[in-house]
Symmetry: C2
Subunit: 292 residues, 2 copies
């Protein structure tokens, strides 16, 4: 621990209070957490008022969280923690050669109860006036062999053009812009959705307050969330980003990776959509990666 | 920052996102916080599940907090943070020679609206069957000159013998075992109270869960909270501890300092109390301390 003018035994005493029945991993995590929190307080000579302001922010996060909103997670997102943990997970799992598709954070708007949809279905159940329709399609493939994976699950969700996911927005039909698809022959999936648009993360709670205090904008670049799964393969959680978005370089939650940027191209002769996105998803077998 | 196998620019990018209008102090604190949080995550290769468990605990703290309970603060207390900040504050303010009375944490049970009492008043408004009555008295003095300070404010609060402060306990009268006193001639204050008893910190919320996970007992040694103030003097927030308490060496919130340990002695000829505590409070003028 760093040298400082405070009681040199204090942190050690707090760590040593951890009892013998604690699991080794929890002991490791609490030891690290206590050291870093204490070092942070000492290095910055944190005042009572500053500490209490932080406690208030944390309590506020819990108070504004419920089944549909997780402000504790949002606070972590704006300091990059969720994206960092995503990178750690990806690095640990993917230390095989030839990195598969990059991962990205799950984010707070995932819903476990998203309904199944038919391939080719339009998931825009509530149409905004200003939306551009997209036909998104592709194959789920084995990363190594490029073999199509029939009966994979592809789950997607995105915000509407007003910047809100359906569970944040009383105007949208439930499960609007969400769907789970089962791949058919040649591992193909397809659906109609909106071209995603950039949106601000919620600014009426502690996350918004923290961003304001840090003089940062709240925008996320336009993206579509994807989870893909197939038996025997490592599940993939990612996001794909619109190359034309102006927030690509300064995502408020630091989730963009170059390999996740995609191009929406004009689609001809389809009355249902003026744009098209062809996106293949490559999954890695459990055996092929270390420790997975 | 430490060497590691993850993106070497990630933390820098998150810090550099802080905008130009942020106050210098907030920039310093957020920079330090982001570095420590990221280092903690990388050093321990924090998993998604572990991180989400932490988020859940933090959200739970907010959800169980209200006007009468501050679980965010309690969580900080059990990892020693409030006591450490108290030490930092005391060190910064008291770098004059001849340290005055040591400070101790305010704790979560302070109430700003505690009523005034008369000197000599009994603050045990709800008598427990098993309480030992104490006559506590003393003088408020100038630390340097030992001159008595008339019209000082002395505020005290303590838990009852069931381990609960009045706001936690429907059985106790409101403001039981609390009072604010104005010192009279020779700077004297006095009141009747209970001999304090050890008690566990709340164990029905995230603080209790964290203690259980760390295999630690929840007890605080018996103590009386004191705040003393006088115009032109630095306010003192402290706690005094009963020398006979068995938890003196392992306070669950790490607040005990040797100089704050006191002796309750037998009191003769007073039908109202079998014990006595004579405790003088020394305050330091604002001019006498650096930076205060």
């Amino acid at each position: 621990m760093a040298t400082h003018r405070f009681d040199p035994n204090f942190t050690k005493n707090v760590i040593n209070a951890i009892g013998p029945k604690t699991s080794p991993r929890l002991r490791q995590l609490m030891t690290g957490l206590i050291k870093h929190v204490h070092d942070f307080a000492r290095e910055n000579e944190l005042t009572v008022d500053e500490w209490l302001a932080g406690v208030k922010l944390l309590n506020w996060a819990g108070q504004t969280s419920d089944d549909r909103r997780n402000e504790g997670q949002l606070l972590c997102d704006v300091i990059g923690l969720e994206s960092l943990i995503d990178e750690i997970t990806f690095t640990r799992a993917g230390e095989a050669k030839d990195a598969p598709i990059a991962t990205a954070i799950l984010g707070p708007f995932f819903r476990a109860d998203t309904p199944w949809r038919q391939n080719g279905e339009d998931i825009v159940k509530t149409k905004p006036a200003n939306g551009e329709m997209v036909f998104m399609h592709g194959q789920v493939l084995d990363f190594a062999s490029k073999k199509p994976l029939v009966e994979s699950t592809v789950e997607v969700w995105l915000a509407s053009t007003n910047g809100l996911y359906e569970q944040q927005d009383p105007i949208q039909e439930e499960f609007n812009l969400r769907g789970k698809f089962k791949t058919g022959e040649e591992g193909r999936y397809s659906f109609y959705c909106l071209r995603p648009t950039p949106y601000p993360v919620p600014n009426d709670g502690p996350e918004g307050k923290l961003l304001e205090l840090m003089d940062r904008h709240p925008f996320r670049p336009a993206h579509i969330h994807i989870i893909a799964m197939h038996n025997g393969y490592r599940p993939l959680t990612t996001q794909i980003f619109d190359r034309e978005d102006k927030y690509l370089d300064n995502d408020s939650v630091f989730a963009v990776k170059d390999s996740l940027v995609v191009d929406f191209v004009p689609r001809k002769g389809d009355p249902q959509a003026s744009l098209e996105l062809n996106y293949d998803i490559k999954l890695v077998m459990f055996d092929a990666v270390n420790g997975a």
